[in-house]
Point group: C2
Chain length 157, copies 2
DNA sequence: AAAATATAGTTTACTGATATACTGTTTATG
DNA sequence: CATAAACAGTATATCAGTAAACTATATTTT
């Protein structure tokens, strides 16, 4: 049977909280005709126009293939322009429509999330941020490209 | 420009922590030849053999279509059996191979996660769990099937 | 009992993400 | 300088997930 020790219980809590918030964020964006992925692209681009697809992919922690496909389906809002310094990269710019959409949706999104997430005492957020940062640091001891870990933990003896 | 108030910063922290942990969990399972979705199915089934596909879908918070497709691709580990009480539902059972796999992988997964997530003082987990529970409760004021919200927040005036 | 409705499962079409292979371009290096 | 290696982008195949249409079976209602 599953061992529900304190670490696991806290992790379950974290997952549930994450999903509760994210589902609402997605619902909010869906009503405005945007997917979360599209919103992320618009949001990042509106602060960093003129970056390459690769840089956008890095920022969003997704693959360049994903960005390519995503951009393909947002032609009304995003434009690929030639990079004067390199013929292999594209520079991404918002179209006027994209800029307009980004402005309104970003600000509404901000208001919505702040309202959704706010309302608890200031000390709560300080404490929570600190705790999460500590946990994340602790988790990152374990490298993501592990092969030893598989042996050490999953392994024999 | 984005307003990075305390709520948003805490949310960013939470997302980062969530992804840092989940990426490692996925890497762990991938090395053992399982996707996270497959693991979830095995894990739930090994504690609840004989449930229907619909019940499994409900438990995992996914659609029955997803479960159907998922089960289709795990024939070595999962078996559909006729429900003696209803000809329209299937009952899901682990095959001997599925049972064996579940046993070893579940326990290794448990050990791995406990090690990954553990190591901080007990008070940390108590405090974090409590904080997350409070935040989740507060978030759930906002109903997920909102239409008023879209007007109230996204809206005019 | 017949008709309407609801339910379990399947299928299909779509989005989103990955990995991988492929194209073309740039940069290193031998 | 020529070739090899790295890099940006694209294309393709695959895996998860959703929604919606469809099939077959149960259940309710009239």
């Amino acid at each position: 049977m599953p061992e529900l020790n304190r670490e696991m219980l806290t992790w379950l809590r974290l997952m549930r909280t994450f999903h509760a918030i994210q589902r609402r964020e997605i619902a909010f964006l869906t009503e405005r005709g945007l997917s979360l992925a599209q919103f992320d692209v618009l949001a990042h681009l509106s602060g960093h126009e003129g970056i390459t697809q690769q840089r956008l992919a890095d920022s969003l922690l997704v693959t360049k293939g994903n960005v390519c496909h995503l951009i393909d389906r947002m032609p009304a809002w995003i434009e690929r322009r030639a990079d004067p310094t390199s013929r292999r990269s594209n520079l991404l710019y918002l179209t006027p429509d994209g800029k307009a959409l980004a402005t309104t949706v970003l600000s509404a999104h901000d208001t919505y999330l702040s309202d959704l997430l706010g309302g608890l005492p200031d000390a709560f957020y300080r404490q929570m941020s600190g705790g999460l940062r500590a946990w994340e640091r602790s988790v990152k001891r374990v490298d993501i490209s592990m092969s030893e870990v598989s042996v050490a933990v999953g392994g024999l003896k």
